[in-house]
Point group: C2
Chain length 243, copies 2
DNA sequence: CAGTGGTCTAGACCACAGT
DNA sequence: CTGTGGTCTAGACCACTGG
């Protein structure tokens, strides 16, 4: 995983890296259960020591690409169940086979209120970007979202066309969120939300409120509050082991 | 991670395991940044080869307990941010510093309906356990939960006192969920839920509906539907990187 | 039985950090 | 400079699997 001792050039390939990438290519796209070359086979093929081959294969095992079966051999692992990861609205909608649409309702510089300031880790009252969007999918209104950004996260956003996907824009700046903290509650839509989300008059209007704080490394890159029409959007989670 | 070649006994300790556990004890509770013994130090201390020591330390690095710094040494890693893991109501409440209370409203054998049967991966109409509970914390009603279990998951539960914590009971059977799939929606409480959750007459009653399917290995151990009073219970999530 | 992965040894040279 | 971790070798014996 850690590439050390590599110089400015493409770096003369370390042997265990050569073997690892060779095996990775062999294995990519292969059906789970397909046998990988045996360790001794790779030893003679590459003319390296067995420990070197093991180091290469160990990395692929940790990655979850291979599985060792003592006494049997090394095989392509069946893909492990995935934990839910930080995803943007656009990505969540895409996973449902639809395309996200965005209508910018508001995009301007404001003074940070105390709650937002704390979440963004900036001084209360300092200038931040407030971006309010109505998000649609399949022609239906799904969600009203207020995003708050530190001004240096996407400098000059307000001067150009607002991007369709916030996460795509962050990605281009190398600031794709690596972690997020979300809190989720049920509530009833406000009058403004009722209208934006196309609730009929008198219709009961439960919404899912999601507050997100997303960070890249040590930097808070997004603070947002969203209200989802939950009859049009269900939140799915896959969670991993607790041990 | 994988313990192979160990016989019925406590198994004669493998050297790399001895070293690993020795270092683990040294390191446990130490502040992040604390240096671990150097590899050569451990070599002379245990009279083993350096590769053996490296194997031991590698395991702790993968666990996230140690961090290597080339040219500097090996150090206690600062705890990595944790992804949210599959947790029980009791655990979630305990994390908030309260104690979960449980009132069993219903516990009996029923015939599986089509939806529950599919989720539990049993034949429709076959016998399953249906367990309905009111869950409280700090004296307040938090959640109404319907749990459906395959009969062989907790054999004889209905004949004894119902456990306080389902996950604890599953744990004792070696069936603690390793994965869960949850879907989350906002809704309004039904009349029965309104009463159980102490909503006042005429009070607006938004609830968070969580459907969970929890598995241990290949076995579905829990299917449940819960309705949370979201003014008394907020769902928190920490999600990891998407790359 | 032969072949597999799991463990282990006793050395070696390298790049890098700190002094 | 010394000490660290990163890489690598050329063997070895073991327990296990399958035929």
């Amino acid at each position: 995983m850690r590439r050390v001792g590599q110089t400015v050039e493409t770096a003369r390939e370390l042997k265990h890296v050569v073997v690892r990438e060779h095996v990775r290519k062999l294995v990519q796209g292969a059906a789970p259960g397909t046998p990988a070359p045996s360790e001794r086979e790779l030893v003679s093929q590459f003319g390296v020591a067995r420990m070197t081959v093991r180091q290469a294969l160990d990395a692929l095992v940790v990655e979850g690409l291979l599985e060792r079966m003592p006494g049997r051999g090394t095989f392509v692992a069946r893909p492990r169940r995935q934990q839910t990861q930080v995803a943007s609205f656009s990505e969540a909608v895409a996973r449902r086979g639809q395309v996200a649409e965005t209508v910018t309702l508001l995009a301007r510089v404001e003074q940070a209120g105390p709650g937002v300031a704390r979440a963004l880790e900036v001084e209360a009252g300092s200038a931040i970007v407030h971006w309010r969007r109505l998000r649609r999918a399949g022609g239906e209104a799904i969600c009203v979202q207020d995003v708050y950004l530190a001004p240096d996260v996407l400098p000059g956003v307000l001067e150009s066309v607002m991007p369709e996907s916030l996460y795509e824009a962050l990605c281009l700046r190398g600031l794709r969120p690596t972690w997020s903290e979300d809190s989720i509650q049920a509530d009833l839509a406000s009058d403004e939300e009722r209208e934006l989300l196309d609730f009929a008059a008198g219709e009961l209007a439960p919404v899912l409120r999601v507050s997100r704080r997303a960070v890249h490394g040590e930097r808070v890159v997004e603070v947002s509050r969203s209200a989802y029409r939950s009859d049009r959007f269900t939140l799915y989670l896959q969670l991993g082991p607790s041990s």
